[in-house]
Symmetry: C2
Subunit: 195 residues, 2 copies
DNA sequence: CCCGTTCTGGACCGAACGGTCAAGAAGTCG
DNA sequence: CGACTTCTTGACCGTTCGGTCCAGAACGGG
């Protein structure tokens, strides 16, 4: 009965995400969003509500995709410890990725004070990541790659902190070499070989 | 000969810093800056130039003060390793501090892409911090608190990453307990007791 | 005491902001 | 095929943005 949408919601969210990612929330104008999505204001508002709602939608989408990706990687990893290592090294493995950082980290830093929803979303997301890391470390313990007497969850939090730090450093434009060095050094300490 | 300024530059920079810190760069308007500083637009522009220049001034000021504080703390520390521990635990030691995060980290996350000056300033500042940490770890090695065969500078980078991660987590509103746990766990791994 | 210089406060500017709305296009179903 | 519903487009709104500028106040030097 109604006229169907001419656009794909997921596609619009993806297009718009790039804008928020590169420019931040406040510096992204509705014109930017229109240009990126190819939609008019009316369509944008009709489908997603105001700028803030659209942004939250994008952020939740991003977090969800991220969590899914991490779980897939863990499932596909040969060993739990490999997954953890890749997780920490990841941000320092390609230039553009390192420079752009993480949408969640960037916008949390920008908005945590003024948009409690964003802080809450970040907390949720980091807890989810902590859970995946805990699973991975648990598995690594069973596989003999991490000391069996370590507290997997505490260790997971430390690993997450290290990764977030690498992400933050990558955003400054630090060289990939230095980034990789920092990541490897942290990993060497956090996950000492048991053998 | 000229009419003297009625305000104190350092005081204005400090007042304005609070605004940028809490709201971020883009979301802070000139009206906010005027209200915070008590100055008119004319005075603000006459003394500091445009918004961007004022912000960079604030940021450099902040970094410089930070570096000075770290050096003083290191000089005053009983042992090098104490300084490093306090450095990592710091962000999780008081609520408001944890929520506000670090002005440099926040604005780097917001602006690194759009204002290369900010990224460069962040790089400079983190290198300075790395130097202080390296000194501290070097001292800690001499004092027998850190394994003598570790590379102090690499370790310093890992410590910095961990601290930045704690700062990022603190900004999400994570409880101080969890923050402290993550910090302590990371420290236990990064700086294992030698004795 | 007066001149020159600088500082101050706020009026003012054009542009861009986020958001609304209405008119028309485009589908779907009876 | 016509009517109903939704979607699309872009004109339009008031507000706020960063920035300029000027008239007058405030001070120091001669």
């Amino acid at each position: 009965m109604p006229r169907p949408r001419e656009f794909d919601e997921a596609g619009v969210v993806a297009a718009v995400r790039q804008e928020f990612w590169d420019k931040g929330y406040a510096a992204t104008s509705l014109d930017d969003l229109m240009r990126a999505s190819g939609l008019g204001k009316g369509s944008l508002y009709g489908a997603f509500g105001d700028k803030r709602s659209l942004f939250l939608r994008v952020l939740r989408d991003y977090d969800e995709a991220n969590d899914r990706m991490l779980r897939e990687r863990l499932a596909a990893a040969k060993r739990g410890v490999d997954f953890v290592r890749d997780f920490v090294r990841g941000p320092g493995s390609d230039v553009t990725g390192a420079r752009r950082g993480c949408l969640l980290a960037n916008t949390t830093a920008e908005l945590a004070m003024s948009m409690p929803d964003v802080a809450a979303e970040a907390r949720r997301s980091y807890e989810a990541t902590t859970r995946v890391l805990t699973e991975a470390l648990d598995r690594a313990q069973r596989e003999g790659d991490v000391e069996a007497d370590a507290d997997a969850e505490e260790l997971a939090r430390a690993v997450l902190a290290a990764q977030l730090g690498i992400v933050a450093l990558g955003r400054t434009g630090m060289s990939l070499d230095e980034l990789a060095t920092a990541a490897d050094c942290a990993l060497r300490r956090l996950l000492p070989a048991t053998g």
